[in-house]
């Protein structure tokens, strides 16, 4: 199929960017979206132009490196997939596809379609852990039984890949879904309860410091999340936060 691509090009963080038009022929349905961009880049390189830079790594939907706002949607039109797992069979011959970086104040553009998501790391550094050293003397793993339902729910929250689609989808560029996924995972496990009060306060404080917006419960994040992280996590984080505030 033949595609008309409108791609955001930006030299570096301090330069202005713009949309540039490209026409690409010979795209097949079995190609992934990123393989389509690979082909475009091969063409650009052979013409002596600079290829379009985009973030990607595992190309199997788990590392969270790939991003892209495709026709206005993070990770494109398909549900529950990252861009690397989006296949061109979802598009038709003659389609125009607009490809932009994830847009948020807290995700500055580095080059072309690459954004800086280190704000997410800093939120995790503020409290996304359980303070336990590697000693070899921790209690036996089966010492504390954990209700299967709680363990499964913790796992569902923990599957967040930190891609930032939730932020890109949100009209407020809020990172509540991302932050709440980690808060929830630990809130649901006995090991995480010990530091629950400090964790939620520190992580929310960092989230605000990074310049992410507030949550107004539109639910766009949940719809666009490639891993199906549930809004319930935001509700749970709000409850954790409230109870932490009451406990002081």
């Amino acid at each position: 199929m033949k595609l008309y691509l409108k791609i955001w090009r930006q030299k570096d963080a301090s330069s202005a960017g713009k949309i540039v038009d490209y026409t690409l022929d010979g795209v097949e349905g079995d190609m992934s979206f990123l393989e389509m961009l690979d082909i475009l880049n091969e063409e650009l390189i052979s013409k002596g132009e600079e290829p379009v830079e985009f973030d990607h790594d595992c190309r199997e939907g788990i590392c969270g490196t790939c991003s892209l706002q495709i026709n206005g949607e993070p990770h494109g039109p398909d549900r529950l997939v990252t861009t690397c797992q989006l296949h061109m069979r979802k598009f038709n011959d003659g389609d125009t596809i607009v490809i932009e970086p994830f847009r948020a104040k807290a995700f500055p553009v580095i080059k072309d379609l690459i954004v800086d998501r280190s704000a997410f790391d800093r939120i995790q550094q503020a409290g996304g852990y359980i303070s336990v050293n590697t000693s070899g003397n921790t209690v036996d793993a089966n010492c504390i039984p954990i209700n299967k339902h709680d363990a499964d729910e913790a796992m569902d929250a923990a599957t967040c890949i930190g891609c930032g689609a939730c932020v890109a989808a949100c009209k407020n560029a809020s990172a509540m879904l991302f932050t709440s996924a980690k808060v929830s995972q630990f809130a649901l496990l006995p090991q995480g309860r010990v530091e629950a009060v400090e964790r939620v306060q520190n992580m929310v404080r960092q989230m605000d410091l990074e310049g992410f917006g507030n949550c107004t419960n539109t639910g766009a994040c949940e719809v666009e999340c490639p891993k199906g992280i549930s809004l319930t996590n935001i509700a749970r984080m709000n409850r954790e936060y409230l109870s932490a505030t009451l406990k002081g």
Binding site: D30, M31, I39, Q85, Q124, G128, N133
Partner: protein, 664 residues
Amino acid sequence: MDSKIPSGPLADKWTKHKNDINLVNPANKRNIDVIVVGTGLAGGAAAATLAELGYNVKTFCYQDSPRRAHSIAAQGGINAAKNYQGDGDSNYRLFYDTIKGGDYRSREANVYRLAEVSGNIIDQCVAQGVPFAREYGGMLDNRSFGGVLVSRTFYAKGQTGQQLLLGAYSAMNRQINRGKIQAYNRHEMMDLVLVDGKARGIIARDLVSGEIERHSAHAVVLATGGYGNVFFLSTNAMGSNVMAAWRAHRKGAFFANPCFTQIHPTCIPVSGEHQSKLTLMSESLRNDGRIWVPKKMEDAVAIREGKLKPTQLAEEDRDYYLERRYPAFGNLVPRDVASRAAKERCDAGFGVNKTGEAVYLDFASAIKRYGKEKALTSGLKNPDEATIIKLGEEVIEAKYGNLFQMYEKIVDENPYKTPMMIYPAVHYTMGGLWVDYNLQTTIPGCYAAGEANFSDHGANRLGASALMQGLADGYFVLPYTIGDYLSHDIRTGKIPTDSAAFDEAEKQVRDRMEKLMGGSGIHSVDYYHKKLGKIMWNKCGMARNAKELEEAVKEISDLRKDFWENVKVPGTIDSKNQELEKAGRVADFLELGELFAKDALHRNESCGGHFREEYQTEEGEALRDDKNFKYVAAWEFAGEPKDAKLHKEDLVYENIELKTRSYK
């Protein structure tokens, strides 16, 4: 080769060694710097633990965050000899299975230590909040993996690697927050710096600004993963590369058993020339999936032409070839055996997709079995067929839902309704930097952990053992053994970066990049990478022979020459430049590939993942030669890969009797 294996009985070696080695007191640890390159399971775990102990740690990764390291893609699980299932598991049994699975080409003492610390890994991860799968009673659940007769694999759905990596990442984050780890993300190690023969730092490139940086430390840990991407198509991440290990090799670290590569039997088949990477379908699927091809050639042809559907084929017309050939282990034979068996059937003309390179992985009988069980436990007396299938599909979805979804997105077929198509693909490299018992390479102060070293998996790795080894090295081995070395550095003080050694290393890095940019500009980096991959897959893949390996050595050498003359790298050195990043990595693959072929050529036997067509039994099984090849081949760099000098570390088996591996 001095592997520094402690004396004494096997089970006491690690404890004795820990008691014997030198320690660094807490006050002195604060004056010692350690660089950790790579932040996957091994590197992330090592960095966190070293920082907890009090060392000043700098981490480096090419990804934008440590959480993205490719350990994250590991699906199925992590082994540990906990014996929670009461099925007779023990440290010894895990040790035995691993040595046997590795086809008797790994070190007894290292593997026993791995088994010994495996239980602790699970305890540690649970304490960190890793949400492993649990049973209704609240206890941890287990499943079974290939090459073993017990259930010792712990898992978190089909995302075990992700959860363990996020555990290590969280431990790192705690130390970053305390200021004990400085994380340099989007940074690539360009070279290792040696001062007076010791590893004392690295030259790194900031991948955003293009800036070249000098970083010094008292020791350097390389936890940079495997080199499967030398094949271009593999299940590795696009950025996975051999650069750090290869740079160390060029500076004097021996490279061990490069030809020991794991070709994983259950990957999604190649769909076309545009393909950039391959996707694994977890080995855990072989717990419930049955592998087959049609029994009759005419059925295989009809299926390939789209005239027949696999679900239309009667049970008696299917060849469940693993169950037929290996009744004791069936679909759960080790990976090398399963891969070769798939290749054998496809080469014989029974492949089931357009290219003839695919076999079926079928869940129909598991769906029925689980459906019946679920109907009974749900109190349904006489459920109809449709209800049973519906219930069974729900059970399968709970177990493998994410894998089934991934398959459907890629292949555009529903694997609940029609069998999956799978084919072997490059997945893991058992070879790597040679290390002694302390995980130190042949360069003093340079350590290698996880997939980057060679030590534990011999010629074939068992499923769910990579996560175990990465975390064992990172959490429980390296942070202690490195102390013995660092105890001699308590009076050294900070290592300056303005020395001649750093000047020279930085100059070499700059020269090399300029040379890459200065090619005549005919072909892109990918053009060369794909060509290299084709040579590797066709001549150094699942079956190898002397003639083709000789050709491979020559072809790779020629391709490398062509690359340096004609590669085209757009952009500039001093800015973000993904093509330049790729070019540096492919340049090293073009050297490693040649050594790989040379190693495969010299090893005149078949063992594990290394199958030489000249050395096989009448039934087509691998034929080992313990008399002549019971050693680790450690290669010393000597200018060109083909001139590398061979050093042998004889493998001594005091606790296990060498046998022909049988899974029948």
